[in-house]
Structure formats: C-alpha cells, structure tokens
C-alpha cells in the first residue's frame, strides 16, 4: 500500500485518518511529499485495539510515524497535528501515547479530545 505524493507540488492541506493496525501507509505517503506549499498536516488515529496491547509491528509503524512527523516540524517548519481519539473508557491514554509517540508527545503535538 503506497501513496506517492511527490508530484503533488500544489498540495497545501493534508488530513489522513487511520486505525491501528492500518497505519503504515501514512508515514510512507508523508515521506513522499515534496510540495513547498504544504501548510497543514493532520493525522487522526482511531484505535482498534486497547492502546496498551499494540503488537510489535504496529508499535514500529507508530515510531516511524512519530519520526516522520517530527521531521516535518524540524526541517520544514511545519507544525503537524496529531489527534488520537481514545475508545470510551480508555484509561491512561496520555501515558500510553508518550510511549508510542515519544517525540510528538514531548513537543506537545498530540491532541487527545476528551
């Protein structure tokens, strides 16, 4: 699954919605972007399994996404927005996210709507 956005040079606004375990395509698509016009990136993650029982492969995909999004901020001066929508009754969400998305969380780029 790959989405090549390298030729989308007018791209300004991007929103990707994904759900674990189907998230690898997001980092792949982001890495292909070459647009100089990009103004907004929003990633919205919907959990399908409890966030504290994510499998190893999904964990690696999240780490990669964490790295790619932070890179956008540091090298393109573009502040990405990452929104995590917890399941009803999910506890300790922020703690789990700080483990799964350490850099994004540390830089305050993760929103958890309550």
């Amino acid at each position: 699954m790959s989405l090549d956005l390298s030729k989308a040079t007018k791209l300004r606004d991007l929103m990707f919605r994904c759900r674990i375990p189907n998230i690898r395509w997001v980092a792949t698509a982001l890495q292909s972007i070459e647009s100089k016009n990009l103004q907004q990136i929003t990633i919205r993650l919907y959990p399908i399994t409890p966030v504290d029982s994510i499998e190893e492969g999904d964990y690696r995909d999240l780490q990669e996404l964490d790295r790619v999004l932070v890179q956008f901020w540091t090298s393109h001066s573009l502040r990405p927005r990452f929104v995590y929508a917890p399941e009803d009754g999910e506890k300790d969400t922020r703690d789990h996210l700080s483990r799964l998305l350490p850099e994004l969380t540390r830089r305050g780029l993760v929103d958890v709507p309550l």
Binding site: M1, L5, K7, A8, T9, K10, L11, L14, M15, R17
Partner: protein, 260 residues
C-alpha cells in the same frame, strides 16, 4: 406599498427573506408586483420526488413551461426513479426549463435494465457545476460526462448495477477542477476505474475519500492522476469489517470546498 418604495429597496427587503419560505409565500399573496422578486428565492432550491407526485403537482401549477419559475432554480434535487422505470420524455423535456441549475442532486437511483432512466436528463442544464449522487448505481457516468462545466462531484453509497460490465467513455468529459468526495462508498474500485477513463482527465483540487485497504491502490492511482492540481487530500483507509467513524460521514461539517 411596493409602488411607494424604490424598486431596489423593495428588492433588498425581499432578499433578506431568502431563507424564510413562509414569508416569501405570504409576499406572493400581497401583490402581483411582488411575485417576480419573491419567486427568485422561493424557487432557488427545488426538490422533486415522483413517489410523492411532485412532478405532477409542479406541472399542474405551471402548465406552460415558458412561464414557470424553473429558470430561478439553481439547486435541484431529484429523488427515486425506481428500478425498471424510464423517466417520461415529457417530464424530461420539462426539466430542460431548469436551465440555470448549478447544483444538482440525484437520490436513490437503482435499476438493472440497460437503459438508464437518466438519459433524458443528460446535459439538461449546461451550468451544472456540482453533482451529488446519493444511493445510485454505476450507470451515472454518462450523466456526469454530459455536464461540461462540472467541477465538484460527490458520491454517496454506490451499488454496482448492470453498468459494472463494459463502458465506453464518451468523447468528452468535464474538466472536474473542484472537489471529489468518495466517502462511505461501496465499489470504490469500479468507480475510480470509470473516472480514470474520462477522456479529458481529472483535475481535482481536493479529494476526500474513505476506502478499504484492498481498494487503497486505486485511490492512490486516482490521487496520482490529479497530482498536478491537487491542493488538499483527506483520506481514511480502513480494514474490512470496520467502518469509518460517524464524524467522517457528517456532511453538516464539510471539511473544505463544501458545496453549498
């Protein structure tokens, strides 16, 4: 009273009532001179449902098409042509009086015979810029190609019909420079395949879509085909057995390039 008011002031007052149909209807009863301006707003948005005999009612009210307020309509919704029904030719001819329609919405169109009931409606208004197709099957692509100025296209809930077999694309297609909305749609792969066959290409500035992971490559192909014009992209990819969250379908909060 209208005689004592300068026409431009009267027009301004009536224009302020554009979202109050009851007030506009009351205005029509005050004086004949009030009718033309109020009709402009009263018939700006028209919805026809044959099951509820809306066509018959309209024709009874305005038997002479040349005097009907159809030319005021810029947003038209047409419901339900049941399976096996072909739109009456006279009705279709009557629809040609709606030649100023800009926003067009067809709802609940399913049929299995090869003759699409929509043929009489092809290109009935050359001003159509946005087309929304809700609960339709695949025979709608000739209809889409019949509106040369079409910019925005929205599909809601496709059902593959007889049109999933062979399709010969028309010689021309609209430029499609606005937004494409493929949210909550079954058979997205087939729909995209048809769109990719459009002879004049795809030039969407925005794409909003949801699809199963199995259809993702088709969606990626579509986005790639629009890469020269694409300005915004809103995608949701999900696994079989899962469905997009309700907020993704909330059309009262369009993401961008809403079609109102």
């Amino acid at each position: 009273m209208s005689r004592s008011l300068p026409p431009e002031i009267f027009d301004l007052i009536v224009d302020q009532l554009h979202y109050k149909p009851a007030a506009l209807k009351a205005c029509c009863l005050v004086s004949r001179s009030w009718i033309p301006r109020t009709r402009r707003h009263l018939f700006a948005h028209v919805e026809f449902d044959p099951v509820r005999h809306h066509f018959a009612s309209w024709i009874r009210s305005f038997p002479d098409p040349s005097n009907s307020p159809a030319h005021h309509t810029h947003s038209l919704t047409i419901h339900r042509f049941p399976n096996g029904t072909t739109a009456d030719t006279n009705v279709a001819n009557y629809f040609r009086t709606f030649h100023n329609v800009v926003h067009l919405h067809f709802k609940f169109l399913y049929w299995t015979n090869h003759e699409s009931p929509l043929v009489p409606f092809h290109g009935f208004s050359h001003r159509v810029r946005s087309l929304r197709l809700t609960h339709t099957s695949f025979e709608v692509f000739d209809l889409i190609c019949s509106f040369p100025l079409l910019e925005d296209l929205e599909f809601v809930e496709f059902r593959p019909g007889s049109g999933t077999a062979e399709w010969s694309a028309p010689s021309t297609s609209p430029k499609l420079t606005g937004s494409l909305d493929l949210r909550s749609m079954g058979g997205i792969y087939l729909a995209i395949r048809r769109l990719l066959d459009f002879p004049d290409g795809l030039h969407f500035a925005g794409i909003t879509a949801s699809c199963f992971d199995g259809d993702f490559e088709s969606l990626a192909d579509l986005a790639s085909r629009c890469s020269g014009t694409l300005e915004y992209l809103n995608l949701y990819c999900f696994s079989p057995g899962e469905s997009p969250p309700a907020e993704f379908h909330d059309r009262s909060k369009p993401y961008r390039y809403s079609w109102t």
